[in-house]
């Protein structure tokens, strides 16, 4: 195994990556390839931010129970991707973020993306999917207070997350196809993705309104019963 054992080296990496490497990659990338192949730069940034998150998670002393619950939610997301037309994965990610915190939400989203892609096909898009779903979960954790209290707000967040996911993935489609970002292609991609966007929004709204209440009760019960 290649675990970095040196504590100092690990700390250096943790400071260097967000403050030096990611900005450097972005700036150098855009200077060196001016407007060409933005896809490589965005891929590198996505991969680096995922690595950074992994490093942060590794450092923290997360309880075993918490980790197991994250694994349970990830498995449910994975299983949910097999439902035709409806995709409960974002809804479950939002629920995890809302009740277990932003970090758990990020992990559930990102891990279910990489896991389920072993069945649905890995590709360069995996990094973007991981980041998109992870961020949906992370922001759900960030705004967990208002989201938990106001049901309409949660539904609205779910719908917005569906649209945002589709828009993020279309940016990547355009970047991959053309050199640099092109607005006409982006609008065309958004247009062709419209049925998918609609399915994301519908399934987010549907699953959030069906599952948010019961899931909250169950997770709350587990928290009280076992003191997670």
């Amino acid at each position: 195994m290649l675990v970095i054992k040196n504590q100092r080296l690990r700390n250096t990496i943790r400071v260097a990556v967000p403050f030096l490497v990611i900005p450097a990659v972005t700036i150098l990338g855009s200077i060196a390839f001016d407007r060409k192949k933005h896809i490589i730069i965005s891929l590198a940034v996505a991969a680096l931010s995922l690595l950074l998150f992994a490093a942060g998670f590794e450092k923290k002393s997360t309880g075993t129970r918490r980790m197991v619950i994250i694994a349970v939610m990830t498995a449910l997301c994975f299983a949910g991707r097999f439902i035709p037309f409806l995709k409960p994965i974002s809804a479950l990610t939002i629920i995890s973020g809302m009740y277990l915190g932003g970090e758990a939400g990020f992990l559930v989203g990102a891990l279910s993306a990489i896991l389920s892609n072993f069945y649905f096909g890995q590709g360069p898009w995996t990094a973007f999917q991981m980041l998109a779903w992870g961020l949906i979960g992370f922001f759900a954790g960030l705004f967990s207070e208002p989201l938990r209290k106001h049901r309409p707000l949660l539904i609205l967040y779910g719908a917005a997350a569906g649209v945002a996911y589709s828009m993020i993935m279309d940016i990547w489609t355009v970047l991959w196809y053309a050199e640099g970002f092109r607005t006409d292609l982006y609008i065309a991609a958004l247009g062709t993705a419209l049925p998918y966007t609609a399915s994301y929004v519908v399934s987010n709204v549907l699953f959030l309104s069906l599952l948010a209440g019961p899931f909250g009760e169950k997770l709350g019960r587990i928290k009280i019963k076992y003191g997670v």
Binding site: M1, L2, V3, K36, K37, I39, I40, L43, L51, A54, A55, F57, E58, T62, G63, T64, R65, M67, V68, I69, I70, A71, V72, T74, A75, L76, F78, A79, L107, L111, S112, I114, L115, N117, F118, G121, Q122, G123, P124, W176, Y177, A178, E179, R182, D184, L185, A188, L210, P214, F215, K218, L219, I222, Y226, V228
Partner: protein, 292 residues
Amino acid sequence: MRHFSELNPLAVTVYFFCVTGIAMFSSYPLLMIAALLGGVIFFIVRNGSSHARSHIFFLLLFIILALANPLMSHNGVTVLFVMNDNPVTLEATLYGLNSAAMIVGVLYWFRSFTQIMTSEKLLYITGALSPKLSLVLSMALRYVPLFSKQSKKIKDSQTATGLFSDDNIIDDIRGRMRIFSILITWALENGITTADSMAARGYGVGRRTQLRRFHFRRGDVLLLIVSLTLTGITAVALSLGKLSWNFYPAIEHSSPDILGICGISAYSALVLLPVIIETEVSLKWKYLLSRI
């Protein structure tokens, strides 16, 4: 003497990222053709004549992607014909073909990659990166079949107690929701029990061991060195502008000198590397069998 898929996952991953990285990075048509052909040949060598539907899907995708650009983009100086008052240019057509070759080629490579990188190997790689994440992943993987088994058990017991009916749709949905709800409660409690059991057996005390060991043997080191060297040659040729190709406004490209030719042949060798390994292995087996 191992098949390509049996080599160390780390070396195989590096190889795949080298191949697809160069394909996505450059826009030199010969490299795109090499990536596409290499991807298709490797996929066919691995799978034979099966997966006909995948091939048809990729062919359709190639056609759509190749046509999308000339219909959408009207850059370029050589007008082929005018359709609906919009000029269709030679440059945009070639650009579409080039992009389509790149995308379909990378898709083929990733299809093979997904076949080779089983979940066990994923755990090996993430384990190197972060043992904790790898544990969460491996547990999630194990939970998927467990949950489907458990949900069948719940369904059977619900049917036995007369609570599940599927003759009308509302009852059906309510029955399914009930099963799902029971499954979640069970899964969470079961997870806590698992966690406690893990803690009791000393999880987190020492380093985690793995069920299957992947050693770094001579073949793996060789694959790593060869793929990095070949990628390096191509990358140098690319970064020195020996393999540049601009489509707009008019096609303009650097005439390949020695270094450019070296880059192209290095990349061609790179994409054929797994096929060479597979052929060598099967030839060796054939030879050994005939001696027995």
